[in-house]
Symmetry: D2
Subunit: 167 residues, 4 copies
């Protein structure tokens, strides 16, 4: 490709209520509008809403699926990666991204946040887990108040990472 795109992961639950889906959709739109590739776990809920948003803006979507069958992918996934790895695929989702946006989310999302931080991927949170140890909040997750802000932060952090490491 002429120029290398950024890869931004969106992580969140495979089922969610409409307000959370609306947030995820808006995150996907901002990612698609900026020409970044959206990477996710390829399933429903937050993942589907984010992919829908990205496709509405002509973006490209990658779904890294846990199960053994491509039909698990939501309809907005362009490139389904069929891992058959179960929850271990979470490590592949975040490792393939330059930055991660976490939208709300359950325990799977918590594991993706932990893996991303372990691997040095910046994590931007939108209504997601708050972490502390010994009563002291951990500042590892960059908090955002809106989808626009979340994606702008994620892209800025991703560019810094790219700057350090090359593509």
């Amino acid at each position: 490709m002429a120029e290398r795109p950024l890869f931004i992961a969106v992580v969140g639950s495979a089922s969610c209520d409409e307000p959370v889906a609306a947030l995820a959709r808006a995150v996907g739109q901002e990612i698609g509008r900026r020409g970044a590739v959206l990477v996710c776990g390829g399933r429903g809920g937050v993942m589907e809403a984010a992919c829908q948003g990205a496709k509405a803006q002509g973006g490209i979507t990658v779904g890294i699926l846990p199960g053994p069958d491509r039909r698990e992918a939501n309809r907005y996934v362009d490139i389904p990666i069929v891992t058959g790895l179960g929850d271990a695929r979470n490590a592949v989702v975040v490792r393939s991204a330059d930055a991660v946006v976490a939208v709300s989310g359950g325990y799977g999302t918590l594991s993706e946040i932990g893996l991303a931080l372990k691997m040095g991927r910046p994590v931007v949170g939108l209504g997601t887990w708050e972490l502390s140890q010994q009563g002291r909040p951990a500042a590892a997750i960059v908090r955002a108040d809106t989808p626009l802000q979340a994606v702008e932060e994620a892209i800025a952090l991703a560019k810094m990472r790219i700057g350090e490491d090359g593509w």
Copy 2:
């Protein structure tokens, strides 16, 4: 085997200070003393201290290593599993356990807590991450104040799990 042992995972950082190592060692001793198999990531820090404790009580230790080489295992690992999977091996550590004891810990430990809760494995925490969402603490991690209490809780919860699912 005449009777199936329980498998208890101990998760925590690959490097730690001596007070944390002492906690991990005591956790390992309690696991070994009760005849449960200690499962861990096989490396240094909390993992090594826990294995040392278990071996001191004649226990069996399994180390599920991230890298491609068995020599990464600490010296107290009886059964090294060499995955070459990198951080994705965290999913194998917790999936192989009936219950998980988290001792202090960093982001890798956070990912193991998330994966364990996702998979329905009970997690007992000893000075580890505290989780909340929208300002509300999440009660998913069972808090313990001492290594003895942590292991007793983990074994009780593991037995309940076994009771539900069989070995």
Copy 3:
């Protein structure tokens, strides 16, 4: 997407001589020309030549990398998937494909052939491993004499598979 593309994997060694590279390049061209997505391990040799061929025809290329870093990808990979899984990523390459074309190849390629056949993915071979047991040749690999024939066979077999299972 309006219509779902086929996903064809090309497997072969990470280093190869020019005659084998020419075969792989021609395989990639035929895949790209037909609008199928080329999936591979993302590295050099056969993988790079196949990606180069596909890109020359405006195709899309996916590289499922073994290591922890995107920079391992050859320059013709559009969508790098960074697994960090080592050789275990071979299972993800073939599982993500509707059919597999094996071009020459070493032991890694042999493992991908075995995994593909285990998972029910059709395998077309171009100068690759020949298998037998107890002196009887195994007919599992469909032999092709030219890149054109290999890709036509792979696409025909992939369509049959899709017909059975849906996308």
Copy 4:
């Protein structure tokens, strides 16, 4: 442990006829009798027969399971590793071993042979796949005529490997 044991993998199909099971059982017995740890995929067929043989000689057996549940293990597995990785677990089986004995076997076994050879693990074959390329047989698999010979070869090759790399 006072002295580090060798780890010998036995690979073969999850279902097999009695003559093949008898071979696998004899292989397991020889492994157990020599104090090596038997590593396998933990399921039925060749894996179960090999574990049974090893246990009859007081050996230790490790089963690295593909699915998400320990109950998939055959009854002769002492240490079940529950990967949830599907066929990608084959890479973990062979990477955890110092040498591999392949007994008959199907496509999964073929993939394990390929992965083992790729990783530099010696492979001893007992009535298993024969490999050739361009009509020339590949000499990579050491052929054995009896279970005793297979295990003696595997242990000799494993010791050479240990000698090179340390434990």
